[in-house]
Amino acid sequence: MTDVSAARYAGIGGIGSQIWPLTGPEVVSRKVLKGLRARSNAPGFIHLAIHCLALLVTGSLVALTAGTLWLQVPAMLLYGTVIVLTFCASARMLTRHGIQDALDQLRCRLRHRDLDLSSLSLLQVSPRGPSYLHPACRA
């Protein structure tokens, strides 16, 4: 099934179409959706700061428990969880023009069009080509 026919099969007209369920009055009106699409850098910076702090705190736990394996393994699990959750740290973070243009140099154009902190992706050990399929890439 092609993408377009798959969408038609589900009764969905496609992005931008009048019958796309989100933009129809039955789910979210275009006006509300426009408001939700408003971009702002502040939440991105706050989340980034929280994530870095979480990395620091849980990473310190790994250091503090060094030498005691039964404590260090759970600490590593906690710290590792914070690392893997950077998976979505790229989802539409910093979006205003100036910052975005500067950060464009850092990120892969194939992925999320706002910002993908390359260093976080490296931390994740994750090649980025396949994320081309990710919905946030095609907005």
Binding site: A10, V62, V84, A91, V125, P127, G129, Y132, L133, R138
Partner: protein
Amino acid sequence: MPSVIPTSCLFPSGFASYAAQIIGAGFWPKLVGTLWRGASRHFNAYEKSFLPESVRGQVINEIRVQCLLYLTVLLLSLYYESTLALTYWLVPRILGEPVLRAIRMAEHTGTDESPNLLSNTRTTLTNPLLRTLYWNMPYHAEHHLASSVPFHALGRMHEHVAPHLKCVTRGYIAVHRDILHRIRNQKKSKAEIQD
């Protein structure tokens, strides 16, 4: 138009397949394969299907730079006989993967395998800490419904779309309890057919 059907939602065929998905049995070999094919310029047919020729060079370069950085870390660790990279990066990264797998399974596994965005993705209502550290991605149905909505607005969007969503679950444990329950039922009905 890109596909509207999530690709990573195959329902586990049994408990062994569930466990394999949780530990990332398919994830790590896939990762190494992707890095290898990218670095050696040998994309497979699937990758070629979504990487236009105009961008392949860029992807190859990125993957090569990435591999080079990893190789540098490896060589420096060997040279200085240091376990820093292992302790503060690789081992925690590997230990954390099952947590990410469990979260990612909750996003699509067991939902409709159809193009209907209101039913083919699951939103999981979870605690504020996890929601913050996962950048609001637990509002996953909202994220797929409108990828142009930034992460910080997904909570507000949930208030609008919640009545229309077919898969909303309270907590990740409940999601996995449900998945395991369905695997058990699946096995039972298979056994009944064989009888």
